[in-house]
């Protein structure tokens, strides 16, 4: 009797559980899984939203790899951006949080100041940086001139557009900083006190205690910023009026995909592009997960 009632309650509870997550299940099918299946199938067609959807085999993929110079340009630009922005923002955020993680007067105010730029985004921020980087009347070159440095033409010089965007990205280093700060504040003070008595200097304490203890957060930060970095789009779109110029130097992968999908309506082709991006991001995440045990330190005996 009792057993039966219990079973019934469990079943009823289980049903309630599915009802709770029902919105997500519907959303997942309609906005994620369904579109993924459609996109995968359509990447083998010449789909253009309105009139045609013929199966053309691997043609889209062949065209991408062998016939489309701009595809390689956009991939190069994106890799360039990721390769510099991810390490720089990670190192910058760790360094800043180490500075902040001390009992010094004004710590809360500093934290607020460093975090503020990270919550700002959108067209307003891009316009601000277009002005800051304006070669003649912008703030950056004005300040450089104080030190006798002739600043570059930033967004007008194809050599300098990507460094300019990386520079802008560094302004929002505060988000990552807070992530590390939260983790550093969880490290037991006694570890540092013991090290101090053993004569370890600040640098040794930082490399031997702080860094190993925050490796799980470093890992999380690198994985998410890699995924995010590959998807750079809005800043490049606004700053180059959707064209990716000058000389395609801001034609990032997503921007090129956007042009193919929503300007040329070469949808099949754009979807093929999106799957290549997916594979790249997925592979990098897997590599990260495989490498993690070698350097990420989890407390409580995990390797």
């Amino acid at each position: 009797m009792a057993g039966k009632r219990r079973f019934n309650y469990k079943t009823r509870e289980g049903l309630q559980g599915y009802l709770f997550i029902l919105p997500w299940i519907i959303g997942f099918i309609v906005f994620t899984a369904g579109p993924l299946l459609f996109s995968f199938a359509a990447s083998f067609t010449n789909y253009n939203v309105t009139s045609q959807m013929d199966f053309i085999g691997l043609s889209n993929y062949e065209r991408l790899f062998s016939g489309d110079q701009l595809f390689w340009t956009s991939l190069y630009n994106t890799l360039y951006y990721v390769l510099f922005s991810v390490p720089l923002t990670t190192i910058g955020a760790i360094f800043l949080s180490a500075l902040l993680n001390r009992d010094i007067p004004g710590m809360r105010l500093f934290r607020t100041i460093y975090y503020l730029p990270a919550v700002l985004s959108g067209v307003g921020v891009y316009l601000l940086w277009m002005q800051l980087l304006e070669p003649g009347t912008g703030m950056v070159n004005t300040v450089l001139a104080w030190f006798g440095i002739q600043g570059p033409n930033w967004l007008f010089d194809p050599e300098w557009t990507k460094p300019a965007l990386i520079f802008m990205k560094l302004w929002s280093v505060g988000g990552g900083m807070l992530l590390y700060l939260a983790s550093m504040q969880g490290i037991s003070k006694s570890l540092y006190e013991a090290a101090e008595i053993d004569g370890a200097n600040a640098w040794q304490q930082f490399t031997r205690i702080t860094i190993p203890m925050i490796t799980p957060v470093i890992f999380f930060d690198i994985v998410t910023s890699l995924i995010g970095g590959f998807q750079i789009f809005q800043e490049a779109y606004v700053m180059s009026n959707g064209e990716g110029g000058p000389v395609n130097s801001m034609l990032f992968y997503n921007l090129y995909m956007w042009q193919k999908a929503f300007e040329a309506f070469d949808m099949g082709y754009a979807m093929a592009m999106s799957w290549i991006l997916f594979v790249i991001v997925f592979a990098l995440t897997i590599v990260n997960l495989k490498l993690a045990p070698k350097w990420v330190h989890y407390e409580g005996g995990g390797k």
Binding site: G17, T32, T112, L116, V125, M139, M257
Partner: protein
């Protein structure tokens, strides 16, 4: 304790070392260097915002003067009135608020509901399904964006706010994750006790779950507000009618009209950023909490 004995040790046995060679002294010296670095960095971080403010009140003539200055000749606050009138910013504001409020409501209630299910209701396959939730965060946005566009086009939703608002009512992986983290900190005994009284999970979610997770809901609300307010890609893709333009789209168009009239462009940008800046100063705690919840899960 340990520190104290170390100090005592030094006081009595090494009386001749200079102040900065002692542990305490070294720490003080480091703190000073630290403070100077942080202060210098703060000026660097704030200077773009100061520059935006200063540029926005300069006359066009002064904007073009070389070298430009960090203090304006005169504070022309009328630039803001002129900016506001140069484009239908009031309409853009109403449009943006409409979308933002709906997105925030959807995100707060629906994600809380879903997260409660994943955190507190046992059912078959819960862990596997939650793993799927997390793994969807890895999918690059454009992979689903293009087919979603096709879907919304077929539904005749182009040039409406539906594509921007409706998905917010079906949960987002990041917010589900964040709220589930918070629910996990609520003791199961509390839920069990309510179940003993015969309460259903829906009642428990509404009467206990929602009130107890208020701080986390505030975090989700603020993040969603920020996301919807700053969203440029969504409106760019789905909205063509100028009467439906949001602030982000409007600002992009305004940029085209003003070309290099940086004083008006900076005034417009600052106006659009201002609500987020104000929100940040009042609710900083919740921004930071969001970050802590993220790192707690890793």
């Amino acid at each position: 304790m340990v520190k104290q004995t170390a100090d005592v040790h030094q006081k009595f046995h090494q009386p001749k070392v200079s102040h900065f060679e002692t542990i305490k002294g070294r720490r003080q010296a480091l703190n000073i260097i630290n403070w100077v670095l942080l202060a210098a960095g703060s000026i660097l971080m704030l200077s773009p915002l100061w520059w935006m403010l200063v540029t926005s009140v300069k006359t066009m003539q002064e904007v073009m003067t070389y070298p430009p200055t960090f203090w304006p000749e005169s504070w022309n606050w009328s630039n803001y009135m002129k900016t506001w009138e140069a484009a239908p910013f009031d309409l853009y504001t109403v449009n943006t608020l409409t979308i933002t409020i709906l997105v925030v409501i959807g995100n707060v209630f629906v994600n809380s509901f879903i997260a409660y299910g994943f955190a507190k209701v046992p059912f078959k396959g819960r862990n596997a399904l939650f793993a799927i939730v997390l793994s969807t965060m890895m999918i690059p946005g454009f992979v689903t964006l293009i087919p979603q566009y096709v879907l919304f086009a077929k539904l005749q939703w182009l040039n409406t706010y539906y594509p921007l608002v409706v998905p917010a009512f079906f949960g987002s992986a990041f917010n589900i994750f964040l709220l589930r983290q918070f629910y996990m900190t609520i003791p199961d005994e509390l839920i069990e006790a309510a179940k003993m009284e015969g309460a259903s999970h829906f009642w428990i979610w509404w009467k206990i779950g929602l009130p107890l997770t208020k701080p986390a809901l505030a975090t989700v609300a603020i993040f969603s507000f920020n996301g919807a307010w700053n969203d440029f890609l969504g409106p760019l893709l789905y909205v063509n009618d100028e009467n439906l333009y949001t602030l982000q789209l409007g600002l992009q168009v305004f940029k085209g009209q003003m070309s290099t009239q940086w004083n008006y462009l900076m005034a417009g940008s600052l106006l659009v950023l201002l609500p987020v800046i104000i929100l940040f100063f009042f609710f900083q705690k919740y921004f930071i909490q969001g970050i802590n919840l993220q790192s707690g899960g890793k």
